[in-house]
């Protein structure tokens, strides 16, 4: 099995585990943990408009 497919399988296993956690714990509990991922990711994201559109592969914008 290639590294990529092994990695994807491992990621899918985590998705299943996390989904089970969400189902069996209170909304407040899982969301508090999820928010650490979301909020820190949004805070650390920093790029220019041009860089953002390039990343998205979109060309319809005016400077």
């Amino acid at each position: 099995m290639s590294f990529t497919s092994k990695n994807q399988k491992e990621r899918m296993r985590f998705v299943d585990k996390w989904a089970e956690y969400v189902k069996t714990h209170s909304d407040k509990d899982w969301s508090r943990q999820q928010n650490m991922v979301i909020n820190s990711s949004l805070k650390s994201a920093s790029m220019t408009r041009e860089q953002f559109f390039k990343m998205k592969g979109e060309k319809h914008f005016q400077i």
Binding site: Q8, R11, M12, F14, V15, D16, W18, A19, E20, V22, K23, S26, D27, K28, W30, S31, R32, Q33, Q34, N35, V37, I38, N39, S41, L42, K43, A45, M47, T48, R49, F52, F53, E58, H60, F61, Q62
Partner: protein
């Protein structure tokens, strides 16, 4: 998370910065037009452990004066369009079936990626919605069956397949499996 009925899910979650941003935008949007949220944020709202820099929103085609009014209200509430400052240019992008993005002033991320209904599946998404009830308001998302089928049959990236799997697991007893298969077949036919 409570799956109340086919049109309502209640989540007593702590709101993330992405939720608050989306609720702020939706509050203005829904005063002006119908809308539905699709794709990654649907999975995130339902607990998927990942972030996203944008939230995908579909709206029906609206005329220029209606759009101008929406645009003015968004600006008054500190949103701006990343694509252009000219309202007529932004409207032209939408008319050309291109998505336009809105963020809060002086920021890039997160942003709303808004587009008009383009395909029959966008129309299905807009007509078949679920209200997700949160502590600070409601967010209208597309039926989960369509989201799963679209991610598995059309988008197919590892991230999308993981999103679909998360929704399938979370909403296992709530989902109409036959409907997922029906959408899968229709999408396969449409995109072949």
């Amino acid at each position: 998370m409570k799956f109340i009925d086919k049109e309502t899910i209640k989540i007593d979650r702590e709101l993330s910065d992405l939720d608050n941003f989306t609720l702020d935008f939706i509050k203005i949007l829904e005063k002006n037009t119908d809308y539905v949220i699709v794709s990654g944020y649907v999975a995130i709202l339902l607990g998927r452990a990942r972030a996203s820099e944008d939230v995908d929103v579909i709206i029906p085609k609206i005329n220029f004066s209606k759009f101008q009014s929406l645009y003015t209200q968004l600006k008054k509430n500190d949103f701006y369009c990343l694509n252009s400052e000219e309202v007529s240019t932004v409207y032209d992008y939408l008319k050309d079936n291109l998505a336009v993005r809105f963020a809060k002033k002086d920021t890039m991320i997160p942003n709303i990626e808004m587009k008009w209904t383009k395909s029959d599946f966008d129309k299905i998404a807009l007509e078949n919605t679920i209200d997700v009830v949160l502590s600070k308001g409601k967010i209208r998302i597309s039926h989960l069956e369509l989201q799963i089928a679209f991610k598995e049959e059309v988008l197919k990236s590892p991230k999308d397949l993981e999103d679909a799997r998360h929704i399938e697991k979370i909403a296992e007893s709530y989902l109409d499996k036959e409907l997922i298969n029906k959408y899968r077949e229709q999408l396969r036919e449409f995109y072949k």
